[in-house]
Symmetry: C2
Subunit: 193 residues, 2 copies
């Protein structure tokens, strides 16, 4: 058993010991909202947005993008579980700003091992075959952080499965300060009708 697996299971045992009455929480989110945010390790949405267990849905992927899968999750969130407000929260220093889809495809085509970056940019240290599969993937990288929030709020707002009555707020989380900063143009686009 790996050290990480041992640590996770030990932490989980501790959590169980302090679990209290959380076993009686209901399935629908008590505070009826959903957050779409990035998988970035520095982000803890429960902490930065003040969520207790049972409060809100949290959807996370690379970039916090409004991918088809994120939309699937948001639709299930409001349709079956009654959420009424959505947040899109990207963040400063996001990995998705650092590279492009083309870089990602080139790196994966040469090997499947972890790539490294130095002053000359990304390069591969791995040996062995990569995969042509990468040619068909949109990695959803972006060049402008504010615009990425605007684009994703807009995609959700305009999606035929998202009711006009749900407001969609656009924010950026600052990894240096922990602050949530509104992207007013996004929130404006995302307002409920």
């Amino acid at each position: 058993m790996s050290q990480i697996l041992q640590e996770v299971l030990a932490a989980n045992k501790q959590y169980q010991a302090e679990f209290g009455d959380k076993g009686s929480l209901a399935l629908p989110p008590a505070r009826a909202f959903a957050i779409l945010t990035c998988m970035d390790a520095r982000l803890d949405p429960a902490k930065y947005a003040g969520l207790s267990e049972g409060d809100a849905h949290v959807i996370r992927n690379a970039g916090g993008r409004a991918s088809d899968d994120a939309i699937r999750s948001l639709v299930i969130s409001y349709k079956l579980l009654g959420t009424k407000e959505f947040f899109v929260i990207h963040h400063t220093d996001c990995g998705m700003l650092l590279f492009t889809d083309d870089i990602m495809r080139d790196l994966l085509a040469s090997s499947l091992e972890t790539a490294t970056v130095d002053e000359n940019g990304w390069h591969d240290v791995g040996q062995g075959p990569g995969s042509a599969e990468a040619r068909n993937i949109a990695f959803l990288t972006f060049k402008n952080l504010e615009q990425s929030v605007i684009d994703d709020v807009q995609r959700i707002r305009q999606h035929p499965l998202v009711p006009a009555t749900i407001p969609v707020y656009g924010y950026i989380y600052d990894v240096k300060s922990g602050q949530l900063l509104e992207v007013p143009a996004a929130t404006q686009i995302g307002q409920a009708k």
Copy 2:
């Protein structure tokens, strides 16, 4: 400004005040692993798996499914940010067990408003047009919880963009106790080669 938005921003202000030296955390996850789990409001992966900010990537969607978008995120996670172990963690009492893709499509075809469920099953209370768009979406519901973990670990293991050197562990989180329970057949399939 909605009450939820006010509460989130107030909680965020509190978080900023206690932010400490977290502004110096590095982009790559310090503990070099990633968790794929459900968006369910009752789950807090940081708490149930013992994560501090900066430790690990957390990917979440409805069901914790190994969707194309989750795979995209996992590939970025190891390839650019060096994670070396993956967890797939589904949970008991998951919404994805309660309905089928057909139910979801029918509900969305009749209206976009929140549906309700009673002893006769799901039904729509909303008025107005739904959307034909739902006909094209795979909602990734499942009938058997253990099998869903096995299927998703297998999909990740067999994916051409996932290196054979990364172990993929399969677990179920029990919402009644907070316990992580291994799905041995999944972990077996997911073992590194």
